[in-house]
């Protein structure tokens, strides 16, 4: 007789956000075959909107209800506030993506929503991963969904190319992560993050090599230099709605897990990875900002800007302190709102023009679409760290974390990088307000884009409100970070 398989006790509530999103994905996919053509868009959108709203509710509930963090499901998943807060941010960005996607994605809508929700479910699982296995599985889970999302407009060459490029380079990153995990397992014969920390010997070369490869693999996902090569091409080629999702949600997931694994599994190697990450941060700041200076395509420009922001966030990660941890969590809130919002605006412009948005055909946009123009103005100044939004406080926080760690030089690097970045962010504002329209928009009034306006408005509110309501948000981030062993 085959012995009974001992299934672990499952704390279903701790997985509720993931399950809600996954259920939504399933329903959205079903609607592709069961719902008549004319209703598919509406039904699948409603499914996506309600699933993400549900996920938002459950993750907030989990946040409230998980004051003492612990592992669940055979120690494979963390139920704590770090997970819950990251999940809440992820659900909010997914909801916003669904709003924009409902208008900007013109074909394969049920498939789009299904993949979007599947990817979001993978990310919400990823941020709570508690061992190498769940980490890798959930990474693949959301990545595969993203590969397909990038190529969803497969009639367009750029979209297909983006999907393929992301698949190839992303697989390389996944492979690095997997190989690193194997090395770490070889060194410690443990897969749980906490167990690795307990079992790790000092100066174990195998472990250090594994750590380096894990850092590299995660840096591919957060598009930090020098692991960023795919970012501009994929961001440019993918449907802009998908780009908006990737630039906000993927970064949130990647950084939330990076902080977690480094602090939980490799506390003894802090001196190594903090220097390594500081190096990666500096490289990202340099490459992101200087390459952005010469971009004419707005999506590429924003892609390089996202690389430079990865650098800023990494400053907070590298500091390895509790201050750095909550700096990262805080930074991600206004950053994801601004990144999402600016790509959503580009999506609206793209739909209006029917061609890629460049600095030239952005001319006059601010006067033609006043609300979107003002929002883009706020996002650009917010990215540049001018005090119009939480981006300012975020930068202040990560730089404060760097100084707190004793890295005054990194503060100076961050400040100089901000100065360089100013030039291209101002370039966008200049394009939308200060240049006359270079070409007439092809006939008729622009699409109404009501849902896109709602999503952009929400992003604007989040980015501005995070400047004023710093203390409440920091308190949230502080409670989240207290779940990690700082």
């Amino acid at each position: 007789m085959i012995g009974a398989i001992h299934t672990p006790h499952v704390d279903w509530f701790s997985l509720s956000t993931i399950l809600v999103l996954l259920g939504g994905s399933f329903l959205a996919l079903l609607s592709a075959v069961l719902v008549p053509q004319s209703l598919r868009r509406t039904v699948s959108f409603l499914v996506a909107a309600s699933a993400t709203t549900g996920g938002l509710v459950t993750s907030i509930w989990l946040y409230v209800d998980s004051a003492s963090g612990h592992r669940v499901v055979a120690d494979a998943f963390y139920r704590d506030r770090w997970t819950a807060l990251a999940q809440a941010i992820l659900c909010a960005t997914t909801l916003a993506t669904a709003l924009v996607g409902a208008e900007q994605i013109r074909e394969h809508e049920p498939e789009f929503f299904a993949l979007l929700l599947a990817s979001a479910a993978g990310m919400t699982f990823f941020v709570g991963a508690a061992n190498l296995m769940t980490m890798f599985l959930s990474l693949e889970w959301f990545s595969i969904a993203l590969y397909v999302l990038c190529a969803i407009e497969y009639e367009k060459e750029g979209s297909l190319e983006a999907g393929l490029k992301y698949l190839v380079v992303g697989s390389f990153g996944s492979a690095a992560l997997l190989f690193g995990s194997a090395l770490v397992y070889g060194a410690t014969s443990r897969i749980g993050f906490q167990e690795i920390a307990a079992a790790a010997g000092r100066h174990d070369l195998l472990l250090v090599l594994g750590l380096a490869m894990i850092v590299a693999g995660l840096s591919f996902k957060s598009s930090a230099a020098p692991f960023h090569m795919w970012t501009p091409d994929v961001y440019q080629g993918a449907p802009t709605t998908v780009t908006a999702f990737m630039s906000s949600a993927t970064k949130v997931a990647a950084f939330a897990l990076t902080v977690r694994i480094l602090r939980t599994a490799f506390p003894q190697e802090t001196h190594l990875w903090s220097w390594a990450l500081a190096g990666i941060a500096v490289a990202s700041l340099l490459i992101g900002n200087f390459a952005a200076l010469v971009q004419r395509d707005v999506k590429r420009l924003l892609a390089y800007s996202s690389i430079s922001h990865a650098g800023f966030i990494l400053i907070g990660v590298a500091s390895g302190t509790a201050l750095g941890g909550r700096a990262v969590m805080y930074y991600l809130i206004p950053y994801s709102a601004m990144a999402f919002g600016s790509f959503a605006i580009v999506a609206a412009r793209e739909r209006e023009l029917g061609e890629p948005v460049t600095m030239d055909n952005l001319a006059g946009f601010g006067w033609e679409r006043p609300f979107l123009g003002v929002a883009l103005w706020f996002f650009m100044f917010g990215f540049a760290g001018l005090p119009l939004g939480g981006g300012f406080v975020g930068k202040f926080y990560v730089l404060a974390a760097a100084y707190d760690h004793g890295w005054t030089w990194l503060v100076v690097v961050g400040v100089l990088a901000t100065l360089v970045s100013l030039y291209y962010y101002l370039g966008v504002v200049r394009a939308i307000y200060m240049r006359g329209p270079a070409l007439a928009v092809a006939g008729g009034s622009p699409p109404r884009d009501a849902l896109t306006h709602v999503a952009v408005g929400a992003a604007l509110v989040v980015s501005v409100a995070s400047l004023f309501a710093v203390s409440p948000l920091i308190t949230l981030a502080k409670h989240a970070a207290s779940a990690l062993p700082f």
Partner: protein, 484 residues
């Protein structure tokens, strides 16, 4: 509402009005009127504050303190000292005149224009009342945001280059200041200016000082000035030179000298030399400038140098004179740039070669410009004379040669102002001056005459400011005590 919230009202009322203008679908006329009304309300609130201000009391007045970023001890702390009261007064009066000018000339895209002007008002008042370093920095930067768009959209032909220069220059300085703020604040565990201890770090002092020297501007940091002052719309240039440049010198007084006493005295000679260089070089450039705005722009730089000399002389007379001169010069240059705007509207140019003979048949213009010119060149009895005299007397107490350089530069001031007056008002009639060019209209007079009136009032009673800027009229002690 208690009186202490008046300061916050001064900061946020214009911002709220800007949001109302952006959201409500008002007519062009309603938007302009609303903006002017709000800017006048600001003046009214300020008068209320000035009337309630207790000039004999030590410490902050009308102060409000609320946590902003608790975690790192950053707070929303605003309040006023005697000298900040005068600078806030300068801001609201100058902004009211400039917003009125924008209304009078009927700027196109009024929603954006008036909203941004109001936003600029709030941010500038915020700079002068912020008592927390990060809050100060936030307002200091927030001034740039509306300025960038105001110059870039409503400016002249070379506006794009001007905005880039302005932003890159000033941000270079202020980002170094941000680094200094982070280091200072985390080192002493507070960002509060009132309770924060003094620091002896020369690096931090330099981080702040470079930002202020660029904003003022002092001699080697003035690269942004000519383009911005020439390309901005005249009323924005007026704000820029009259009010925003004063944020630089205000920062020197409130932060550099107060929180960094040792580095200040260590670098005293360097800063005095830079101030003297700005004074002499600015005056020479003003004398050579071929156009109205160029003269006033470079004279602003010279005046910033003079104010810096007053502040860094570190004497009672120098401090008193510097505060008086900040206000007096702020009013003069605001009024002069507005007059420059009215002249450009009539002749489409500010070039002296194309102007001349405008006094004939235009008595109001001639009187206003003459009065402003005479005050600006510091004729004895004028407010500017009182300010410059106090500064020079203070500088003399430090060392005689600073006063000698200053006195020499004041002769240059007479030369460039008289050159301006004669080139515009007298001499042969310029090719661009047609008979149809009208005298100042009542609307324009309503904007400029109040400024001239305030200046005449200050000329009659300069002690109103110079004796009411620091507690017990003892500036050096107040600075040493960090105004507590």
């Amino acid at each position: 509402m208690t009186t202490s919230s008046l300061t916050s009202v001064l900061v946020w009322l214009p911002v709220a009005a800007a949001i109302v203008i952006w959201i409500l679908p008002l007519s062009r006329y309603a938007i302009g009127s609303l903006a002017v009304l709000v800017s006048l309300a600001e003046v009214g609130i300020w008068i209320e504050q000035a009337a309630r201000f207790d000039f004999s009391k030590h410490g902050l007045q009308f102060s409000e303190d609320a946590p902003w970023i608790k975690d790192l001890h950053v707070s929303y702390h605003v309040g006023e000292y005697g000298f900040s009261l005068w600078l806030v007064g300068l801001t609201v009066v100058a902004m009211a005149a400039c917003i009125g000018y924008g209304f009078w000339v009927g700027r196109d895209r009024p929603r954006a224009y008036f909203g941004l002007m109001l936003m600029l008002t709030g941010a500038t008042v915020g700079v002068f009342v912020a008592q927390d370093l990060l809050l100060f920095y936030a307002f200091f930067e927030a001034m740039l945001v509306p300025l960038y768009v105001l110059i870039g959209v409503w400016g002249g032909a070379g506006r794009i280059g001007a905005t880039v220069k302005l932003l890159i220059y000033t941000m270079a300085g202020s980002l170094l200041m941000l680094a200094a703020i982070i280091v200072y604040g985390l080192r002493v565990h507070t960002f509060d200016l009132v309770t924060g201890p003094v620091s002896a770090s020369r690096w931090l002092f330099l981080g702040f000082m470079v930002a202020f020297a660029i904003k003022a501007p002092l001699f080697p940091f003035h690269g942004w000035l000519p383009d911005s002052y020439r390309e901005a719309p005249p009323e924005v240039t007026a704000v820029l030179s009259g009010v925003i440049a004063k944020a630089g010198t205000y920062g020197m007084l409130r932060i550099a000298l107060t929180q960094f006493p040792d580095p200040s005295s260590y670098y005293r000679t360097v800063v005095l030399a830079l101030g003297a260089a700005a004074l002499v070089y600015g005056s020479l450039l003003a004398f050579r400038a071929p156009d109205f705005r160029g003269v006033v722009a470079y004279s602003s730089m010279a005046q910033s140098g003079l104010i810096t000399i007053g502040l860094f002389s570190g004497t009672n007379l120098g401090f008193d004179g510097a505060v008086l001169q900040m206000v007096a010069h702020g009013l003069v240059s605001t009024a002069l740039f507005l007059v420059a705007g009215t002249i450009e509207r009539r002749t489409t140019t500010g070039e002296f070669a194309l102007l001349g003979g405008m006094a004939k048949g235009r008595p109001a213009l001639a009187t206003v410009l003459m009065t402003l010119g005479v005050i600006s060149l510091a004729v004895p009895g004028s407010a500017a004379f009182a300010g410059e005299f106090l500064i020079l007397a203070g500088a003399f107490q430090r060392a005689w040669w600073w006063a000698a350089i200053g006195a020499g530069a004041i002769v240059l001031a007479a030369m460039y102002m008289l050159r301006l007056i004669s080139a515009v008002l007298h001499e042969a009639r310029g090719p661009r001056v047609s008979d149809a060019a009208l005298d100042l209209r009542p609307g324009e007079l309503a904007l400029v005459v109040p400024l001239v009136g305030v200046l005449l009032l200050l000329s009659a009673w300069p002690a109103g400011i110079s004796h009411h800027s620091f507690a017990n009229d003892d500036p050096t002690t107040a600075v040493t005590d960090q105004f507590r």
